[in-house]
Amino acid sequence: MLSVRNLSIEFSRYGSGWQRKSIHPVRDLSLDIRPGEIVAVVGSSGSGKSLLAHAVLGLLPGNACATGDILFKGDRLTPRAMSRLRGKQIALIPQSVAYLNPLARVGRQVYRASRLSGRCCQGAARNTDAAFARYRLDGGVKSMFPFQVSGGMARRVLTATATAGDADLLIADEPTTGLDPEVITQSLGHLRELADAGKSVMLITHDIGAAVTIADRVAVIYAGTTVELAGADDFRGKARLRHPYTRALWNALPQQNFRYVTGNQPMEDSTVDGCIYADRCTSRTGECAEPQPLREVDNGQVRCCHA
């Protein structure tokens, strides 16, 4: 469904004083999503995950320069194609109700999303009702304002907004931040239902533990670079994880070893030749100074010369 190849995003901005610096939040991002599957895009804050969503939707800010290819259903996504497909075939499930118009009722906003996806008035109204019913939201919720909706109800409203249309690709941006475990399970369950119905879901999150419960495959991002593309099953036994960063990420979870690796990911404005993880890697060798391509290893891909 979606294929991102070597996406790179660069911004030009001011450092201190007069110098213009260019920052490189996304260096080399590649991933594929097939129909009916959930791909979790996992990485720490600042690894460029949200920018990926914006890039696919064609919503990058003006001073951004993006290179690489994004293919949707086999066709290259040009800016014109993106503005045609936004809301109709590619939909965004945002992070919080802050992304809803504070002065408009929730029901109307879902209705509008449905209209934008191409429905006529009555069709949109029916879709809205269906979406609300599907996520077990009362009719009364439709006349609420965003500030009145919170927690699990908010998540369901946001999911309803995205599914009021007929989008084949759904991008869920951080759907688990700040929520209770039951709400998280419910919210992720909805995404799994959507995938089972044939849609593709890009699940952007930093919560790898939750992601693995519903995802089919996982793309691990480090400093704007894809370092591994693994199946969700690979996380069941650590031995099958290919990249040292993925292992470190998994190990750091409280449920696992709760251990961390010292150091930080490279700053956005630094250029790194060779392996992006080299300065923190314990198994670093001389070969790591060479640029690392994504290679097929077992059933996944990895950007490491030692895998």
Partner: protein, 287 residues
Amino acid sequence: MSTEALRPTLAQRLRLMDGRGRAAWVLVLCLAYFAALVATAAMMSESGLTTDFLHKKLAPCLEFPFGTDWLGRDMLVRTVKGLTRSLGIGLLAASVSSVVSAVLGTLSATLGRKTDAVVTTLIDLVMATPHLVLLILVSFACGGGATGVIIAVAVSHWTRLARIIRAEILQLKQAEFVMVSRKLGRSPWWIARKHMLPHIMPQFTIGLILLFPHAILHAAGLTFLGFGLSPHNPSIGILLSESMRHISTGYWWLAILPGLSLLVTVKLFDVLGNSLRVITDPKTSQE
């Protein structure tokens, strides 16, 4: 990357290309204008101000770029001197106002609830009447005259800036990094210097620079209305009110041109304040 792109062009070297560079140039040019204005006023001899009935009511021409008035005086000289005087009045009043606002704003936010209540009520009181009404009242209280105008403007312009400073400090007091500092045992002076001042200074400086045009315009307005008359050393407002009568007889340059110079001068302050904001405000300085 080709090698041509590596050599900076002259425009790039002068930093004309980016927002910040342009803002800096604008800043420098504004300051140069003000310096030139003051210098010109100081250098202009009094000869342009003597009455000369031979040359009265001349339209703008090469010899008299701003024309002459009904007494034959050179309008350009009158305008430049008047402008400098207006600037002086405005700057003096604005400086006093800014000091008052800084002091009251800080005290209000730091000395506890009672002081805060007193200062906010004071602010509400000063802002309860239309600005011009208060200015007229204070001018009247001082018996007219130029000092009256300065006092009036000084006494009524501090409220906005004081409110801003008070709001900033109150917000900062609640900020997490300040609370953490306090818990870590830092003294209030250290917190004030390291944390609060860097936040407040930019807002204060810009607010100050933008206060000047307000003060200058209000002072000019007051003198235009007839308060603060001192015909021997007139400011722009007086020039304008005196010339108002002559517009209906067609001598438009007596009022329009001095007013235009006032507008340009005041505008430059605005531009200066905005360039400063472009350079220092983190939100907009990336454009």
